[in-house]
Assembly symmetry: C2
Homo-oligomer: 128 residues x 2
């Protein structure tokens, strides 16, 4: 799964495809051994490739990921993912990456949730 192209976009595409395929060796090949994975909304952190593999393989549900859009340069980038769980929820994930020599050194996952808008601005917006 590892592309010869060391560009960040190719790495992001390979990362999402490997996760979706449950190709855990493929994922590992994209990660620096000391990769840091963070979930800022819950303030959770995992350090190291083995720990992230344990987290990913234990993640519950028949989840699926699709790459909606991505932007990157050699050193960093970001992806917007559409996710769904078979028979369950759907949503958006936004993932920021840092790269070093073609390997992912940092992943920051955001999982924004739906909520009700604050009152008082109904006249300024439409709902969809």
């Amino acid at each position: 799964m590892v592309s010869d192209d060391k560009g960040g976009l190719a790495t992001i595409e390979a990362y999402v495809a490997s996760l979706e395929a449950r190709d855990w060796d493929g994922v590992d090949c994209l990660l620096h051994a000391d990769v840091v994975y963070e979930l800022p909304q819950t303030r959770e952190r995992i350090t190291g490739r083995e720990g992230l593999r344990a987290f990913n393989t234990a993640y519950p549900g028949d989840w699926h990921l699709g790459l909606a859009e991505a932007y990157a340069d050699e050193g960093a980038g970001v992806a917007r993912l559409d996710w769904d769980v078979t028979g369950g929820e759907t949503g958006t994930a936004i993932v920021f990456f840092r790269f070093d020599d073609g390997l992912i050194t940092r992943i920051t996952d955001w999982w924004p949730e739906f909520y009700d808008p604050p009152p008082g601005r109904e006249h300024l917006v439409e709902r969809y």
Copy 2:
């Protein structure tokens, strides 16, 4: 505030700086007249430059924005912003853009919130 550089990164930088400066004319100069602004988490939408200006100028609180990182090409891009309200909250905003001939045609704002992690994975992560 409008850069001669039609690149997406310059447009993003000018957009954030103009908002932070409350330079509403400067913001307008960056926007297509028919810009579409969406908040997917609340399913709110504003269509048109005038409507977005009305929304922005009515937004409560002494808010401040800083550009943390951004990635873009000619047609689209994304920015991560640190925001705070004087005397109040702080947080992260993630903003996706579409561009046409140097003008912003679409803005999609995500405002991810903190939440408690699901139980059962305490042994796989650390908290920070």
